[in-house]
């Protein structure tokens, strides 16, 4: 047929497509497995499941202190994402809008927590907090998480500020706006996509962090990933899979709407 030749891919394109699909499968398979296992009727994690049930979802409450830990995780994530975003606004303004010497070095420093192993950050933080005598407090946990998530809002805010033309701010100035009015009416609205995506990513990174939190918690101070992991080490049933599936569903819904409304993923990748 004449038509089919248009759709016929070259050998090279076929290989690229195959790699693309394999990557998607590779990334998505663990998620899919978790969801399937969570509906497994059996007491042990097995695949494929022999019978289906939703009992494990009812069992979530049996995870030790899970409600309390999830609340702390949510509060820490909210607070660290807020502080990191506010800090990100200031840092990105300085990095994009001023003639700062060694901009590249400063940017690299701000985003360095991404490149350092989290365990190393955790050990460094706890030694630091022990030295200060503030270890294992809510505040040291919060500060540790701010260090962890800081890079995300800085990156997205720098991207949205770079995309926004400086002449907009100058136009507003010439129309009679003070520096503060320019910031509130022009600069901040222009930063909005980066602001929202940076905040959401910072929140999510903090919310499910284990390797840093493990060094910073003790006794009554605990977080959701830590209690979940504790449960896994002592039990073999699929309750954590049920919890994880619930978590995946909620996060997916948030990201789906945030992407539709503010195109957050495009900004995070930028």
């Amino acid at each position: 047929m004449q038509q089919s030749s248009e759709y016929q891919a070259t050998g090279y394109q076929t290989i690229v497509r195959a790699i693309g699909w394999l990557t998607i499968v590779f990334l998505f398979f663990p998620v899919l497995l978790t969801i399937i296992v969570s509906f497994n009727a059996s007491f042990f994690i097995e695949f494929p499941p022999k019978a289906l049930s939703i009992d494990w979802y009812g069992n979530i409450a049996k995870i030790h202190r899970i409600g309390h830990a999830t609340l702390i995780s949510a509060l820490v994530a909210l607070a660290s994402a807020t502080v990191a975003t506010l800090f990100g606004i200031c840092a990105s303004l300085a990095l994009v809008r001023t003639e700062l010497p060694a901009k590249a070095a400063i940017t690299a420093f701000f985003v360095s927590p991404i490149t350092i192993p989290m365990v190393a950050i955790g050990i460094a933080l706890i030694q630091f907090f022990i030295l200060l005598g503030t270890a294992f407090t809510w505040y040291s946990l919060l500060i540790g998480h701010i260090v962890l998530v800081l890079a995300y809002p800085i990156r997205t805010l720098v991207a949205s500020l770079t995309l926004s033309n400086m002449s907009l701010e100058e136009a507003a100035r010439s129309l009679g706006a003070t520096r503060l009015q320019v910031f509130m009416t022009i600069t901040l609205p222009q930063m909005k996509p980066g602001l929202i995506s940076g905040f959401i990513f910072a929140f999510l990174i903090s919310f499910d962090n284990y390797p840093i939190s493990i060094f910073l918690v003790r006794g009554g101070l605990t977080t959701m990933p830590i209690e979940l992991f504790n449960y896994i080490t002592q039990n073999l049933d699929p309750t954590p899979a049920a919890f994880s599936s619930l978590y995946i569903a909620i996060v997916s819904i948030i990201i789906f709407f945030a992407e539709k409304r503010w195109r957050i993923i495009s900004y995070a990748i930028h």
Partner: protein
């Protein structure tokens, strides 16, 4: 009282001396174009007037008031950017009303003034659109309405028509000129487009290397520029090196190309001086070689460039000097100028010949 005055303005950006002693006085309601190649300091001048750059030396006065220590938001200046700088998150009305909002003009009064400004640029029906939904020409007009609605003391336009296609540019050029005259607002236009400068402005300031080389009415600047550099920058010109042969009451006879000599009415040079004579292509007549006399130059054709209506005839003198003349399709056909290497005679219009002294270097070079 001048609408705008710059006195001894010097600006250094880092170690670079960007504006060197700029003096400029613009009458109220006058339109002056700053014209020059990129990097000549014309945009820096505009940004200094707007207040985004504070000059290290000199002062800027707008409508008779010194702008010393006055930030951009206190200068009452209407600014139109090359990229229009419309606020992408606001509607057309909100864009135009922004300056009024900052002036605490609210409610009905603001809505009324915004509508008036939009009606002035014939875009009232677009008031609820977002800037991204407008064409280039429409954005340009909204930017203009936004700058004018605050009733500025002075209007600053940075390459206002640079981003538009040719046809739209011609149309906007006429509209802009009419609007500027109707409102009688003091206007500064920054442009690298000569046609834009010559057609829009009452006076044009040609800038080179951070200085104003010459300022004058477009016709004077084009026809009788004070320096060879300005002559070469504006339009196209032919450069001939000549010698003053003999002097008369005020004029002189010049020569330099074989038997050719030309009598000019005004000449400030003495006998024996080597000078540079410049003439525009439209002031050179093309004759058949049979009419070659001592007051015409012998040349041979190189190429004809068709420019629609006019034809630019590229020639070469016998010593190899390139020379351009302007002709029309009729003449090209009659004399068969399309043929390469055809011998022709060129008659320079002596009253349009501009004489300049050679630079000192060339002078010493000639004497050795």
């Amino acid at each position: 009282m001048p609408g705008l005055e710059l006195e001894g303005v010097n600006v250094w950006l880092g170690a670079q001396h960007v504006l060197k002693n700029i003096d400029l006085s613009v009458a109220e309601g006058e339109c002056v174009a700053l014209l020059g190649p990129s990097g000549c300091g014309k945009t820096t001048t505009l940004r200094t007037i707007a207040g985004f750059i504070v000059p290290q030396e000199g002062c800027v006065s707008i409508a008779g008031k010194s702008t010393k220590d006055l930030p951009p938001n206190k200068r009452n200046v209407g600014l139109v950017f090359q990229d229009y700088a419309l606020f992408p998150h606001m509607t057309v009305s909100e864009n135009v009303g922004y300056g009024l909002r900052m002036r605490k003009i609210d409610g009905k009064a603001r809505a009324q003034q915004v509508e008036q400004a939009l009606a002035m640029v014939q875009l009232l029906h677009m008031k609820d659109r977002m800037p991204s939904q407008l064409s280039g020409g429409q954005r340009q007009r909204i930017a203009l309405a936004r700058a004018l609605v605050i009733q500025p003391d002075i209007l600053l336009l940075d390459e206002p028509l640079g981003a538009l296609d040719r046809k739209l540019r011609d149309q906007m050029q006429v509209e802009l000129k009419q609007l500027q005259k109707k409102l009688g607002i003091t206007t500064i236009i920054v442009t690298h487009d000569q046609e834009e400068a010559l057609s829009l402005a009452d006076r044009v300031a040609v800038m080179f290397d951070g200085q104003i080389a010459e300022i004058g009415k477009p016709v004077n600047l084009y026809e009788t520029p004070s320096s060879l550099k300005v002559m070469e920058f504006l339009g196209s010109s032919n450069i001939l090196s000549m010698v003053v042969n003999s002097r008369e009451a005020r004029g002189a006879i010049l020569s330099g190309y074989q038997h050719y000599s030309i009598q000019v009415e005004h000449c400030a040079f003495s006998v024996g001086d080597r000078i540079t004579a410049a003439i525009r292509p439209e002031h050179i007549g093309i004759l058949p070689i049979s009419e070659l006399t001592s007051d015409t130059l012998e040349a041979s054709t190189v190429e004809c460039v068709y420019k629609g209506g006019l034809v630019e005839v590229h020639c070469r003198l016998s010593d190899g000097t390139p020379i351009k003349a302007q002709s029309d399709a009729n003449c090209v056909q009659r004399l068969n100028l399309m043929q390469q290497g055809l011998k022709i005679a060129l008659r320079l219009n002596s009253s349009r010949l501009q004489l300049f002294s050679n630079s000192p270097n060339e002078l010493t070079h000639d004497r050795t």
